[in-house]
């Protein structure tokens, strides 16, 4: 278990608005909702201003009248109270509606973006996955998308509106009393600057905390998971010490965050409160000189209070915006990756029945790498087996990858039943081919899910037949739940041989026209070895197959053997012919 964060990534990005434009297609379907939200925000702003106004009317109207001994309307206060209640109910309902609308629409925008990103990632060629660690890609569809989520469901509208609000309140303040407003106007930038500067520090140090915490948790996981090893070597004290050291680092990071946060809170407080007292002084002076009434003063005070919240939050909003920009840059960077292989404009159906495979002078180089295949030219007739042998790194596995178009050759052609692969429907092509890789990959799910790869079109009976054919039925039946037994931790609870058999069954269940098999090299216990050899014999029988072979028994029965060396076919022929040649193959066989 590991929770280490991605360290190379910064939340800093230039505030480039072009990314926002690219979000538009995702937002567009819900634009009505977002426009409604803006209207709601505007309306609730007006209602927010109404409350303090009503208080002022009460203070300057009936109350002031009473103090001056003038007759007052006893019902005026009730009317004002009723109005205030109406304003409150309106504001609360608008707030509720706004929250729900933005959450619903925002979440759907994010969902669309996430699924689109995921789908696009699965349409990128293997070359992309060679260059990008899968952990990083997971971050793209989770953390990065979440950052945009924050931007969309609260960030953009809210911060846009906060700015409007600040301007709006300031305008109203100027209308109420220019002197007081001037004080506010002078103080606002200071508060904003303090907020921005310290919020940023809090954020930076909090990122450090998360990093340290992740390292520490990962270490704790290892310390617990590896407790037997520590025990065997009597090294528990050393492990405890190492943990303590990481623990102290995390603590120090927390202390730094807390210090920054405390400073942020205190400094913003100092700035706001000093401004408030200045308003108190100048406003009070205005009351003394008769320039303003007590009611106006209270109204002003309450408005300023409304201003202080968005100002305080501005730093935080800016940070949200920044990380959202950084994330959208990364997300759209992936969406800009070209799909590979490029689908045919008018794809031919991929055909059916026993397949014939042909390589014509195929060359291949991985992106930016040296060529790994040169002039590969061979044919696998229907129903026959061709074996590829040769040292590791000779290019055998690459040949297999070209058959399913996980890569496309840089020169030459690969043909299935005489049709070049790029002209065929990709989906159909891949459905005719089943691949058994060297390393078995099992998904979280049941045995059934893993054999049919979540394809309900393959019924249980077919899965049972496939398991029986490869000789896996007995062990599957012995599992608690049989076919429906859960596969845990990617099959870690199954033996190597059992996992291989599932991989065989997976290939057989799709009833392929061409079987592509990369024989496992790992040395395993003899029981597993026997299982695998037996299973392999069963699935190869009578099928067109292309096999990367490591075992003599697999090669001997092949109709054609290709000896691949340094990316070329160095020798070809049957077992007997190649032995007679006394070349590389003969040396390999004789050890």
């Amino acid at each position: 278990m590991n929770f280490a964060p991605d360290l190379d990534e910064q939340d800093q990005a230039t505030l480039d608005l072009s990314h926002l434009r690219r979000l538009w297609p995702f937002v567009a379907p819900y634009r009505g909702t977002f426009v409604a939200c803006l209207l709601i925000l505007g309306l609730s702003f007006v209602l927010e201003l109404a409350g303090p106004y009503l208080l002022r009317v009460a203070l300057d109207g009936p109350i002031a009248d009473a103090i001056r001994g003038r007759p007052t309307d006893p019902n005026a206060v009730w009317r004002l109270g009723a109005l205030y209640l109406a304003v409150t109910v309106g504001g609360v309902s608008l707030g509720w509606t706004y929250a729900m609308l933005t959450a619903r629409a925002g979440q759907r925008v994010i969902r669309d973006l996430r699924v689109r990103l995921f789908g696009h990632l699965l349409r990128l060629g293997l070359g992309f996955y060679d260059r990008n660690a899968s952990g990083k890609l997971v971050t793209r569809v989770t953390t990065d998308v979440e950052n945009l989520n924050e931007l969309i469901s609260t960030g953009v509208l809210q911060s846009l509106f906060d700015l409007l609000k600040i301007v709006g309140v300031l305008a109203v303040l100027f209308w109420l009393d220019p002197t007081l407003a001037l004080i506010t106007l002078l103080a606002t930038p200071i508060v904003i600057a303090v907020s921005l500067a310290f919020r940023n520090r809090v954020r930076t140090s909090y990122r450090d905390v998360r990093h340290r915490l992740a390292l520490q948790n990962a270490f704790a996981g290892e310390a617990i998971g590896g407790v037997r090893v520590a025990r065997m070597f009597g090294r528990e004290p050393a492990v405890a010490q190492q943990f303590a050291a990481r623990n102290r680092q995390t603590r120090n990071a927390w202390l730094a965050t807390a210090a920054h946060f405390a400073a942020f809170v205190a400094l913003v407080d100092v700035a706001l409160r000093t401004t408030q007292v200045a308003i108190l002084g100048v406003g009070g002076h205005g009351v003394i000189s008769g320039a303003i009434s007590a009611g106006v003063f209270v109204q002003f005070w309450l408005y300023f209070h409304k201003l202080s919240e968005p100002i305080r939050e501005l730093g935080e909003k800016y940070n949200v915006l920044q990380s959202a920009f950084a994330s959208s840059e990364r997300i759209f960077g992936i969406l800009d990756e070209p799909v590979a292989p490029i689908p045919a404009a008018q794809p031919q159906p991929a055909g059916q029945g026993p397949a014939a495979l042909r390589f014509e002078q195929v060359e291949f180089a991985y992106r930016d790498g040296p060529p790994v295949l040169h002039g590969i030219d061979f044919e696998v007739p229907p129903g026959q087996r061709t074996a590829l042998v040769g040292p590791t790194g000779a290019g055998k596995s690459t040949v297999l990858a070209l058959v399913s178009r996980l890569y496309d050759p840089s020169a030459g052609r690969v043909l299935l039943d005489g049709e070049p692969l790029p002209s065929l429907d990709l989906d159909g092509l891949r459905r005719r081919i089943a691949v058994v890789p060297q390393d078995v990959f099992l998904f979280t799910g049941t045995i059934l899910d893993n054999v049919r790869l979540f394809d309900d079109a393959i019924d249980e009976a077919r899965v049972q037949r496939a398991l029986e054919l490869v000789g896996a039925r007995d062990f599957v039946q012995a599992l608690p739940g049989g076919l429906h037994a859960p596969v845990e931790e990617r099959g870690a609870t199954l033996s190597h041989g059992q996992r291989q058999l599932l991989s065989f069954a997976r290939a057989i269940a799709v009833e392929p026209d061409l079987l592509v098999l990369d024989e496992a090299t790992a040395n395993i216990d003899s029981e597993s070895e026997a299982l695998i050899q037996d299973g392999m014999r069963r699935i190869l029988a009578g099928r067109t197959s292309l096999v990367v072979a490591h075992r003599l028994s697999t090669v001997r029965d092949a109709d054609q053997i290709l000896v691949v060396h340094d990316g070329r076919i160095a020798e070809r022929g049957s077992h007997r012919e190649l032995l007679a040649l006394e070349g590389i193959y003969a040396r390999m066989v004789r050890g």
């Binding site: 409150t88 998971g225 596995s397 459905r431 490591h550």
Partner: protein, 649 residues
């Protein structure tokens, strides 16, 4: 659990937390706890001073001169109180939060030190994930109780009653209205807050599921492409994302409800002030300044109210967390007591029968053998025959029955466990390595400050040097999920080197070369013979090649010794051993020259990701959660992530 026991645990957990917090952090705690009420009282004075300032201004309306100075003096007093409160609150925050962080760190440290001393059988039953959540969530909950809840809760305990007292002096009627509204608020928040926890947990679980699905899809992308399952997988991912939308919207609704309650309550109090207060003002029982004071008091009291509702919701969970932690501390560590003999390594096992705790069928039955120090013992047998169990008992990872296992004629039950284990150097079946440099992993077992030549020899003898030759960073390369991914064979070689470099005496190799190919195995076995010299060796192996030169070979089956002897003797017996030997002698591997599929080839040490093409570097290469969203997800932010008590507190 018994009620009395529960009480004892609760008291002990309380004592532990108090010791780590109020005891070890006494200075900070005393200063912090003293500052909290002072700041609270000052914050209550502000509305009163503000109101008086306004009243003074109203009274002075139309006057000039010295009387106005009185007004300015009052303003300066307000400023002094306001800034004083800010400063004192800053001190309280720094001391109390820092104290809670120190206490948290100490708690984690003690917990880890304790866990590492627990007996191995305990770990068989415990799940690593559960233990880790003690470290993350439970410790954070306990910290919450002594940190933020002291800071915010302590203030609330003064501000709320104090606020009412100030209000009551002005207008009992308004106070009654405010009290009613506040009670209503507390009640509704008490209902909403647990829902908020539940919903936000559901959202976190949902995003974790998304992350898990994505991680598998990307790691297994080849399978998805080969079998043309990309579209289907995208559809499934879409459904999972829909699920996330549902949970998120539900959380948003709860949050909106939370805000709605707070907003409504505040406005209700203001309406109370507007209507009831204004009527009293008209009746000349309240001044404008006093009305102003009432409004400001409302503002001051609202956020402590929210804190209280949050603290009430968490305090129960904090207590439960402290108890769960204490339950871990209650588990008795393995007693490290016994004789400190200088062990040479003569080994004798007499009529050893052993069943794992909770199992009825014995894993070993009546096993007896003896081997002198410096000799080589081989143990073979099918899967599940008890080979690894036997080794675990020799190391006393599990307690063997007294009178059955002897080292140098000491019953191992009488030897101090750490002394006993120092007499062995183990390369276990599961070659568990730490995410650290290869150097540190190899040096793990030999204590501090041993010379580098020991490591060099170990690296050579284990065949690890063959791998390192191609890795530019050599021994300094970091392995594990954050660094290089090693193949199974490479891990085994590091584990073997670790055992060889350890200062332990008898070398114990538990199927250590199972993932190593035949050729490399030959090389390593040869080097091992050279390196071990006088060291005794215990070898468990599937492959007979590793044990054929042993002085004694045990054949185990279903926990019994079914045959003993040397290689030659066992072959003559024509039993299991001979049968396996025949099967393994039949060579079926195509190899072209030395090390074809050996250590140079089988992993990323060779040449980076493109080395052996697309099918080579297995789909498990980089752990699914390596840098996934869980990194900064629920475990990182703890249970308080979405609380009103912000991140720094």
């Amino acid at each position: 659990m018994h009620y009395g026991d529960r009480l004892v645990i609760r008291l002990r957990s309380f004592r532990r937390v108090v010791r780590l917090w109020a005891g070890e952090q006494r200075g900070r705690v005393v200063v912090g706890l003293a500052c909290v009420p002072i700041a609270a009282v000052l914050s209550l004075l502000l509305p009163r001073l503000g109101g008086e300032t306004l009243d003074l201004a109203t009274r002075l309306a139309g006057t000039e001169g010295e009387q106005v100075d009185e007004f300015y003096a009052l303003c300066f007093l307000v400023l002094a109180v306001a800034l004083g409160e800010t400063a004192i609150r800053w001190v309280a925050r720094r001391t109390l939060i820092d104290a809670s962080r120190h206490a948290e760190a100490r708690l984690k440290e003690e917990l880890m030190a304790h866990l590492l001393r627990l007996p191995v059988p305990w770990f068989d039953r415990a799940r690593t994930g559960d233990i880790l959540s003690r470290f993350t969530q439970d410790v954070e909950l306990v910290r919450f109780a002594v940190g933020p809840s002291m800071l915010h809760g302590g203030a609330a305990l003064i501000v709320i009653p104090g606020g009412f007292w100030f209000m009551a002096q002005l207008s009992p009627l308004v106070t009654a209205a405010a009290a009613a509204a506040f009670v209503l608020l507390l009640g509704s928040l008490a209902l909403v807050t647990p829902r908020m926890h539940r919903d936000s947990k559901a959202v976190q679980e949902s995003i974790a599921a998304i992350s898990q699905r994505a991680a598998e899809a990307f790691a297994g992308v080849r399978v998805l492409l080969w079998f043309s399952r990309a579209q289907r997988e995208t559809a499934a991912f879409g459904r999972q994302s829909d699920d996330y939308v549902d949970h998120s919207v539900r959380l948003a609704r709860t949050r909106a409800l939370f805000n709605l309650f707070i907003h409504s309550c505040r406005e209700l109090v203001v309406i109370g002030i507007l209507v009831l207060g204004a009527r009293e003002a008209i009746a000349q029982r309240l001044t404008a300044g006093e009305l102003f004071e009432l409004l400001m008091l409302t503002t001051v009291m609202i956020s402590p109210l929210i804190s209280i509702s949050w603290i009430l919701a968490l305090v129960q969970r904090s207590l439960a967390a402290a108890e769960r932690l204490e339950e871990l501390f209650e588990v008795t560590p393995e007693p490290d007591v016994g004789a400190d003999a200088d062990l040479r390594g003569n080994l004798a096992v007499r009529n050893l029968t052993f069943a794992y705790p909770g199992h009825e069928t014995p894993a070993l039955r009546d096993v007896s053998f003896a081997i002198e120090a410096g000799k080589k013992l081989g143990i073979v047998g099918p899967v599940g025959s008890g080979k690894t169990t036997l080794l675990a008992l020799l190391l006393r990872l599990y307690a063997p029955p007294r009178g059955s296992v002897f080292v140098d004629e000491h019953d191992i039950c009488d030897i101090r466990p750490s002394t006993l284990r120092r007499a062995f150097a183990v390369a276990p079946q599961d070659p568990f390595l730490f995410s650290d440099t290869i150097q540190h992993n190899v040096a793990f077992g030999h204590g501090d400050g041993r010379d580098a030549t020991g490591i060099g020899e170990a690296v050579h003898a284990s065949g690890l040097d063959l791998d390192l030759a191609r890795a530019p960073a050599g021994l300094e390369v970091v392995i594990g999920e954050r660094g290089l991914t090693l193949s199974g064979g490479q891990k085994q070689r590091v584990s073997l080197a670790r055992a060889l470099a350890s200062s332990g005496g008898t070398l114990v190799l538990d199927d250590t070369l199972s993932a190593v190919d035949h050729h490399t195995e030959r090389v390593i076995l040869q080097r091992l013979r050279h390196a071990r010299q006088k060291r005794a060796v215990l070898v468990v192996s599937h492959r007979l090649s590793a044990v054929r030169d042993a002085d004694l070979i045990l054949v185990l089956d279903e926990g019994r010794v079914v045959a003993t002897g040397t290689h030659a003797e066992l072959l003559k017996n024509d039993g299991y051993y001979a049968a396996v030997h025949r099967r393994q002698e039949h060579r079926d591997t195509l190899e072209d020259g030395p090390l074809a599929d050996g250590p140079l080839a089988d992993g990323p040490l060779a040449d980076g990701p493109l080395a052996d093409g697309p099918l080579a570097d297995g789909p498990l290469a980089d752990g699914p959660l390596a840098d996934g969203p869980l990194a900064d997800g629920p475990l990182a932010d703890g249970p308080l992530a979405d609380g009103p008590l912000e991140d720094g507190s």
